[in-house]
Amino acid sequence: MIPDTWYLVLSALLFTIGAVGVLIRRNVIVMFMCIELMLNAVNLSFVTFDRMLGGVDGQISVFFVLVVAAAEVVVGLAIIVGIFRRRASADADQMSMLKW
């Protein structure tokens, strides 16, 4: 039997990797993917807590997270596509027209 904690630690590790990825990747699509990774990590926590607690609310939450992720992706990619059409670049560092 694997200790629950391992799942949670794995989840935390993945979450952190995703968060760090957002900080160090410059391609906005990859940044966005890192955010998705963070959501996935949270999902793992939800499922693990469910098993630990013997409930199902966590899984239902994962379900909602999936919906949200889908919606976010749709809107987010639409924005990214719009911006790419204009600049032909997805480099986050080049988007600094608005600053200070």
């Binding site: 986050a92 600094s96 600053k99």
Partner: protein, 641 residues
């Protein structure tokens, strides 16, 4: 009724100032009749006093409640007692004459209306001063005469020197008033009132002790020194000669400048509280008398000589009233007041005479450019000579009597050195006045070729004649100090103090009074003779050169007025300006405002720096967020127990 005395000239002043453009040449007449009316009312007041027994010769009281708040209460009180009556008559009497003189003197001035308005305002203020029954009212008059003095000195304000002189007069007086004000606070605190009658009564009942007894009179004295041009505040008076000459006569010779003497006499009860105070009064008086006389000796400006002479004579009066305070006896005061009166006569005469001279020579004031005017100005020169003899103490003119009584009082009350110095001053006075007369009226004419001296109009000469008469016979007022009319009249005023019997011989060396008087007169005559030798007699030039050889240093010092103005400048004015500049442009602009603006700038700089964190780079934003998240989690984690 007493209110009428200042009210008539005040009304005149208001009327003249409002309709100054309309009154035209009637200005002088209106002003003169206003003060004349005042003189008339004063006579009535005087006669009222005469009708009373000597002990209760005081009338007057509250006119209205002036300032009252909390424990403080000051009424507008006017009072007449014999001292005041004398002052009233001098002020209104001499004042009226000078007003009339001014009609002629100012005949061609466009701003006659304003001038006479000011004159009347001055008269009103001066009358408030002398009538005041309350220190605060006295202060009101005190300040108002200062104001009028300022207005009249700088009457020809287009002349920078006139404006500066007016300002100087006012400011120096203010310094004196600083002392006066604090004295008032002390009086109020000590006696709980500023009403003179009450203050004097309380001070008489329970004499003050310690520093308070000295502080009050000395602070008052500072005020007096300002107004009466005594050391250390005499410096304004010579400059005040920038004003029209009648002003110099009225304000800076006859009336206003004597206010200090009047105040010491009036508040003699307070001055008698402390021997130090009396001593200081005497000391300042004699020092001023000497210094001013020493300066007067070498001045070439006809009015400046008279101005320093005034300062010197005022010093004389201070010696008198100081002696009174020191000895707590009445007669020295009387002597002081007596000299005040005679001085008013002859000094007004001299000033007006000088005015007449200037009138004649086209407003020239340098005596070196006069000489021999006796022929062109018969009346002026004659009356001036009377004044000269009077001030020089030549019997039987008035100055002789008044000076003699001051010296006698000093000797009688144990101040032999003062007596000696007084005699010296008397000699010096005779000398420089003689010098003036010789340079102006005698000898050869040094008048510029294009100037044709002419006698002044009758309206001026009549006044000169009247004053000459007064200066000549003024001595009758008090032929002897102990038994004179004026002594009798004034003595009750000064008897409230504690009397000390004279301890030494009543006269120097125990000689008869007549001998002493004769000696003093001789000193004066000798000084006149010396002046004659140096300025008029054949070979005067050579004698002067010789004298300069031995006394050159002194002469130069004297000519430069002992550098007192320069000393004050470098001691107070200049450092004051430096301090002010440091305060204004250093402390205020740099430090305080610099701190304020610096704080603003610092915020601005911080803003610019903080703003840079908003780099526009979304990954930096994420970094900030992640940092924040890590910190918040940490904040919670550390609290987990």
């Amino acid at each position: 009724m007493l209110l009428l005395i200042p009210a008539i000239p005040l009304a005149g002043a208001v009327f003249l100032l409002i309709f100054r453009a309309k009154v035209g040449r009637f200005a002088g007449a209106i002003a003169s009749s206003a003060i004349g009316g005042s003189f008339f009312v004063s006579l009535i007041a005087w006669s009222e006093l005469l009708n009373r027994p000597a002990e209760s010769r005081a009338v007057g009281g509250r006119v209205f409640e002036w300032i009252a708040a909390g424990s403080f209460h000051a009424d507008f009180t006017l009072r007449v007692d014999p001292l005041t009556a004398v002052m009233l008559l001098v002020v209104t009497g001499v004042g009226t004459l000078i007003h009339i003189y001014s009609i002629g003197y100012m005949a061609s001035d466009e701003r006659r209306g304003t001038f006479f308005g000011y004159l009347n305002l001055f008269a009103a203020s001066m009358l408030v001063l002398v009538l005041a029954g309350n220190f605060l009212v006295l202060f009101l008059g005190w300040e108002l005469v200062g104001l009028c003095s300022f207005l009249l000195i700088s009457f020809w304000s287009h002349r920078p020197s006139a404006a500066a002189a007016g300002k100087k007069a006012f400011i120096v007086n203010r310094i004196g008033d600083f002392g006066f004000l604090i004295a008032l606070f002390l009086i109020q605190k000590t006696f709980g009132t500023l009403d003179m009658v009450e203050v004097f009564a309380r001070a008489g009942e329970s004499p003050l002790t310690g520093s308070l007894a000295t502080a009050i009179p000395l602070l008052l004295l500072l005020g007096c020194a300002g107004k009466s041009a005594q050391i250390p505040l005499y410096i304004w008076l010579p400059d005040a000669m920038e004003g029209p000459t009648p002003v110099s006569a009225l304000i800076h010779a006859a009336t206003m400048v004597t206010a200090g003497v009047y105040l010491v006499a009036r508040a003699h009860v307070l001055f008698e509280q402390s021997l130090i105070a009396g001593g200081v009064v005497v000391g300042i008086g004699i020092a001023t008398a000497l210094l001013a006389a020493a300066i007067a000796i070498s001045q070439d400006d006809i009015k400046r000589v008279l101005a320093y002479s005034t300062v010197s004579q005022l010093g004389y009066m201070f010696v008198a009233v100081g002696t009174g305070a020191l000895s707590r006896s009445a007669l020295p005061y009387v002597a002081g007041i007596f000299h005040l009166v005679t001085h008013a006569f002859f000094k007004a005469l001299l000033f007006l005479g000088a005015g007449s001279v200037m009138h004649a020579v086209g407003d020239e004031t340098d005596m070196k450019k006069m000489g021999g005017l006796r022929k062109a100005l018969p009346v002026t020169s004659l009356t001036f000579i009377i004044g000269w003899l009077a001030i020089s103490g030549v019997p039987p003119l008035s100055g002789f009597f008044s000076k003699e009584s001051i010296l006698a009082a000093a000797w009688e009350h144990g101040l032999p050195w003062i007596w000696v110095l007084g005699v010296i001053v008397a000699g010096m006075t005779a000398f420089y006045m003689s010098r003036q007369v010789f340079l102006t009226f005698f000898g050869e004419s040094r008048v510029a070729a294009d100037v044709h001296p002419h006698e002044s109009p009758p309206v001026m000469t009549r006044v000169l004649q009247s004053l000459a008469l007064l200066a000549a016979v003024g001595g009758l007022l008090n032929l002897t100090l102990h038994h004179g009319t004026l002594s009798k009249w004034l003595e009750p005023v000064f008897t409230s103090g504690v009397h000390i019997e004279a301890t030494e011989a009543a006269t120097p060396l125990g000689l008869p009074e007549v001998v002493v008087s004769a000696f003093i007169a001789l000193v004066s005559l000798a000084a006149i003779a010396l002046a004659y030798r140096l300025y008029l007699a054949p070979g005067a030039e050579k004698a002067r050169t010789r004298l300069k050889g031995s006394l050159g240093y002194f002469v130069r010092l004297s000519q430069k007025k002992f550098f007192v103005d320069e000393l004050y400048n470098s001691l107070f004015v200049w450092p004051g300006k430096v301090v002010a500049r440091i305060a204004a442009f250093g402390i205020d602009a740099k430090i305080i405002d610099g701190a304020v603006n610096g704080a603003a700038k610092a915020v601005g700089a911080a803003a610019l720096r903080m703003r840079m964190t908003q780099s526009g780079l979304v990954r930096r934003y994420a970094m900030a967020m992640l940092t924040g998240a890590a910190l918040i989690v940490a904040l919670f984690v550390v609290r987990v127990r």
